[in-house]
């Protein structure tokens, strides 16, 4: 649990913003609380807000939440080696509570110390603390939002929080290429039904990012080869 303390101020701010943004975008207070307690995926909760407000069908919203969560497939693929010893009942619990920060902390410790004892308890302690702080602050945000006038424009805080998440991912060429291809498609095709514009943008963006990533890896390989030949 102590290991997750450095992230706590961030979790508090993020939880408050998510809570406020959910209500200020027009979600009923009781639904905001239900979603917060059950879904536990901050970026997906914020990302799906405009879709919920626009009245998109539930499967489009779920699909959008799924895509924003795809990074966790990669996280859990690296976690599984360390959790394989645990039972099939324990593993989904460990998975459900994984967060971006607890994953990073766990991987640091496990690369340093290997299969340390009680790593499931350590992981759940860190995740549990984050879960608790997150829930308390987002519910405080949800309740506080009812007292804040809508003219303050706080629903935009949710978009800004997502921006803070996206910008670091664009500092690498493939990520930047993906975003640069995906965003204009989504803007131009925003009138299409069933959120088709969003998914066209995402698919084209992923293709662009993978192509750029591939080109970079290949160029690095050639540079290395030439270096070998010279030496």
């Amino acid at each position: 649990m102590r290991a997750s303390l450095p992230a706590t101020p961030g979790v508090i701010a993020w939880g408050l913003v998510t809570g406020v943004a959910m209500v200020k975008s027009g979600l009923a207070v009781h639904w905001a609380i239900v979603i917060s307690l059950l879904v536990y995926a901050g970026s997906a909760q914020l990302a799906t807000l405009p879709l919920i407000v626009a009245g998109q069908p539930f499967w489009i919203i779920s699909l959008a939440a799924f895509v924003t969560n795809l990074r966790f497939v990669i996280y859990s693929a690296s976690l599984r080696r360390w959790f394989e010893a645990y039972s099939l009942r324990r593993r989904p619990v460990l998975g459900y509570f994984t967060g971006d920060f607890t994953f990073a902390m766990f991987m640091q410790r496990v690369t340093r110390e290997g299969e340390f004892a009680y790593r499931d308890a350590w992981f759940l302690g860190a995740c549990g603390w984050n879960w608790l702080v997150w829930q308390v602050t987002s519910i405080v945000g949800i309740l506080a939002a009812t007292a804040i006038p809508s003219e303050w424009g706080l629903q935009f805080a949710g978009t800004l929080a997502l921006l803070a998440l996206a910008v670091p991912l664009c500092l690498e060429w493939p990520g930047l290429a993906g975003a640069a291809v995906a965003a204009p498609i989504a803007v131009l095709a925003r009138g299409l039904p069933f959120g088709l514009g969003l998914f066209a943008g995402i698919v084209a963006g992923i293709a662009a990012a993978v192509a750029v990533d591939h080109a970079i890896t290949r160029r690095k390989a050639t540079v290395r080869q030439e270096g070998d030949e010279l030496s």
């Binding site: 059950l38 593993r91 803007v187």
Partner: protein, 105 residues
């Protein structure tokens, strides 16, 4: 009872759970190919882009990419602040400040 919101909640719970737990449950048998892994790695940034950018550049139904668009000006200021100070809270604060400033001036 709002059926659509109930379905949204169930769908989002499944999306959270499947992405986080599926790989742990299948164990080591299933390997991700490098291409699939690259695709998964870049999917979130693309998803964030398609959700953020229309919120920022579309103003009352029309695209406005000039600095007269408060949200665009706010997003640019927030991005600059984030790159400069690496502070998420600061980024949100700067963005909200710019949007509010537009309302008053």
């Amino acid at each position: 009872m709002n059926i659509n919101m109930l379905l949204v909640t169930v769908g989002m719970v499944l999306a959270t759970f499947v992405t986080r737990a599926a790989m742990l449950l299948v164990g080591q048998r299933f390997k991700l190919s490098p291409h699939l892994e690259a695709g998964l790695r870049f999917a979130p940034v693309c998803a964030l882009a398609v959700l953020i950018v229309p919120e920022v550049v579309v103003q009352e139904g029309a695209v406005n990419v000039s600095l007269t668009n408060p949200r665009l000006a706010a997003a640019l200021a927030a991005t600059a602040f984030l790159l400069w100070k690496r502070s998420m809270v600061g980024c949100i604060a700067v963005g909200l400040f710019v949007v509010t400033a537009f309302r008053f001036f």
